[in-house]
Amino acid sequence: MIRIISILVGLFFTVALVWSFGNGALIAITEPSPETAEHEFHRHPKEVHFASDGAFGRFDRQQLQRGFQVYKEVCSACHSLQHVAFRDLAALGYSEAEIKAIAAGFQVPGVDPNTGEAALRPGMATDYFPKPFANDIAARAANNNAVPPDLSLITKARHEGPAYVYSLLTGYHDQPAELLKKFPEAETPAGLYYNPYFPNLNLAMAPPLTSEGQVSYSDGTKATVEQMAKDVSAFLIWTAEPTLEKRKQTGWPVLGFLLFATVLGYMSYKNIWADKKKV
């Protein structure tokens, strides 16, 4: 009895699936899904390497400092970094005095000690990076109806995040002629910028890194657009996971111990079973 019921239930699901399959096949033949500009012209991030890559990866602190400089002088005009506090910058090799000076250079929301009213005050080491816009509405108003995302986690929040950020920053160019020829309706709307690394190809962010020397590096590194893009990507790897280096450094002794313990465990297993396999 149970077998008959089972086969009937099985037929119910399989026939329903065959029906779905047939319908889907019919649609696929009669109305093939149209090609889209996004599908054809969206590009995979460029290949780019960072010092923090790989199982032995370490942060290049010089590079992180340069990247921070790019963030501070360029990105921070529109993008917040809300999960990072000034005190965290100690990990980049800044001294306490330097961090205090950096923090003091930012105006953070506070309270007027005399009136109790909202006011701005110079930042302290314990403050988090202030947001450039008071709220999302203000951000939209200033950015062609787009909210610039917070950058703290951006390299973890995108597929192949660091390469994506680097590619996006260096990927702006004019729309290819063949795109316009094939998809005339996909012309970049006014106020947006064409970038093949952005999922829908057009984004509201104007090219932020445009000219060599836009940032003056104090360590003498030549500030090409590629260099600045790479440095700020490296910095954003750090902001997304300040514990990355510690994680990898912790991993090796843990694996070493486990390997040792497992080998010992295996040997005792062999030893204990030595008389049993053949009895």
Binding site: F13, S20, K156, A157, T250, L255, S268
Partner: protein, 433 residues
């Protein structure tokens, strides 16, 4: 509860004697996981995954309890509190990665454990209750994992919660009110997050309870084994301690090694980047996908794209998705073959490997965007999935001629040598019923 030749617990230490009279806990341990529990001697490495599952459960509970000390289940701060754990809590990053990857490890282990059950017919008499409790544990695990994934309140948390609770809205008449009742609102928000946290904390302890029953039920007939032939004599078994403690010990070490490779070097590989974006009800991610361990079932859900007579496609998908797991409850009665192990079932063995491949294909399609050709592939794979359990298994188990079974475990291990009385004898080929 055990075989007659099991070693008896004989305390020599006066304290242990005293203890044995008042509360025979050491005796209980001795008889459950000690020298007093005889186990088939021929278990292969598939049989280590029960212990590994227990290790995972413990790991999840321990890391989870500590994470709960730092996490805030409130929609306005949940995401930030997770980042606080990652950045400011001492070793918080390790706890969180251990917990998130621990869930994946738990599912890897449990899927191997379940496949072991399929392949070796562990669900068959006299172990039906072990199996039923096991499937119950799996369902509880899925619920726990789903609610846990909602807690960081990232984009996938939010939209996953929306999609999965949305499944209930497919139920005729009561669907919509049921969904609102489950969520405590019209969409996932603070009410849903709070109750998910509460249940995510509760369910693991329910799992512990069912695991106790699962192991209790197992210890009545004892473990099955790769031949599927029941234990006949003392030479078929070895005491759990030290033999299987030693084998499980090194297996736990090997498992911990692989798990730590993921934890320390690929902690986000199995996660989805979108969950590092705070939940935003106004912005739908391009592709909403659950965690990898739900992909096969998600593929089945999405395979039903056309209304079937009067049943809407969505309801069909929901029914099928739940049926895909609930069918496991019926395996002991759908599989009528008297032979347990697929090693002696030449025909069914082929189908069970096809099933494994089929589920991997379903998994791949479930993680892929809902586009062609993935939808059509998942439809074909789903057809096999249901046909396998509901049509092929009952028919094959009725018509198959199994290979001859060894007389005993001892004979299977030693190939007939040193077993004077039973050498050259084989068990009669069982007739099928």
């Amino acid at each position: 509860m055990s075989f007659p030749w099991a070693n008896e617990y004989k305390p020599t230490n006066p304290f242990m004697k005293w203890m044995d009279e008042k509360l025979p806990l050491p005796r209980f341990v001795y008889n459950s996981v000690g020298a007093g529990y005889p186990v088939p001697r021929n278990l292969n490495y598939f049989w280590n995954f029960g212990i590994l599952a227990l290790v995972c459960l413990t790991l999840q509970i321990v890391t989870g309890i500590v994470l709960a000390m730092h996490y805030a289940a409130n929609a306005t701060v949940a995401f930030d509190s997770v980042e606080h754990i990652m950045r400011d809590v001492n070793w918080g990053w390790m706890l969180r990665y251990a917990h998130a990857n621990g869930a994946s490890a738990f599912f890897v282990v449990i899927y191997i454990h379940i496949f072991r059950g399929f392949y070796y017919g562990s669900y068959k008499a006299p172990r039906e209750m072990v199996w039923l409790l096991g499937v119950t544990i799996f369902l509880l695990m899925m619920a726990t994992a789903f609610m846990g994934y909602v807690l960081p309140w990232g984009q996938m948390s939010f939209w996953g919660a929306k999609v999965i609770t949305g499944l209930f809205s497919a139920i005729p008449l009561v669907g919509e009110p049921l969904q609102q009742w489950l969520l405590g609102g019209f969409a996932p928000d603070n009410a849903a997050l709070n109750r998910f946290f509460s249940l995510h904390y509760l369910l693991p302890f329910v799992i512990v309870g069912v695991v106790v029953l699962h192991i209790w039920a197992l210890h009545i007939p004892g473990s099955s084994n790769p031949t599927g032939v029941e234990v006949k004599s003392e030479s078929d078994t070895v005491p759990f301690y030290p033999y299987y403690i030693a084998k499980d010990g090194w297996a736990v070490g090997a498992f911990a090694f692989l798990y730590c490779v993921m934890l320390f070097f690929f902690p986000n590989t199995l996660g989805h980047p979108d969950n590092y974006i705070p939940a935003n009800p106004m912005s739908t991610p391009a592709h909403i996908v659950p965690e990898w361990y739900f992909w096969p079932f998600y593929a089945i859900l999405r395979a039903f794209t056309a209304d079937f007579f009067f049943i809407p496609a969505k309801l069909m998908g929901v029914l099928a998705m739940f049926a895909a797991i609930l069918v496991w409850f019926f395996l002991p009665w759908l599989d009528r073959s008297p032979v347990r192990s697929s090693a002696y079932r030449p025909l069914y063995k082929k189908f069970i490997w096809i099933l494994l491949l089929d589920v991997l294909v379903l998994g791949y399609c479930g993680g892929a965007p809902a586009q062609e050709p993935f939808v059509m592939i998942s439809q074909l794979a789903s057809i096999y999935y249901f046909a396998h359990w509901l049509i092929i298994l009952p028919i094959v188990s009725a018509i198959e001629r199994p290979d001859p079974l060894p007389y005993s475990i001892t004979q299977a291990v030693l190939g007939g040598e040193d077993v004077p009385a039973m050498a050259n004898s084989t068990a009669p080929v069982p007739t099928h019923g």
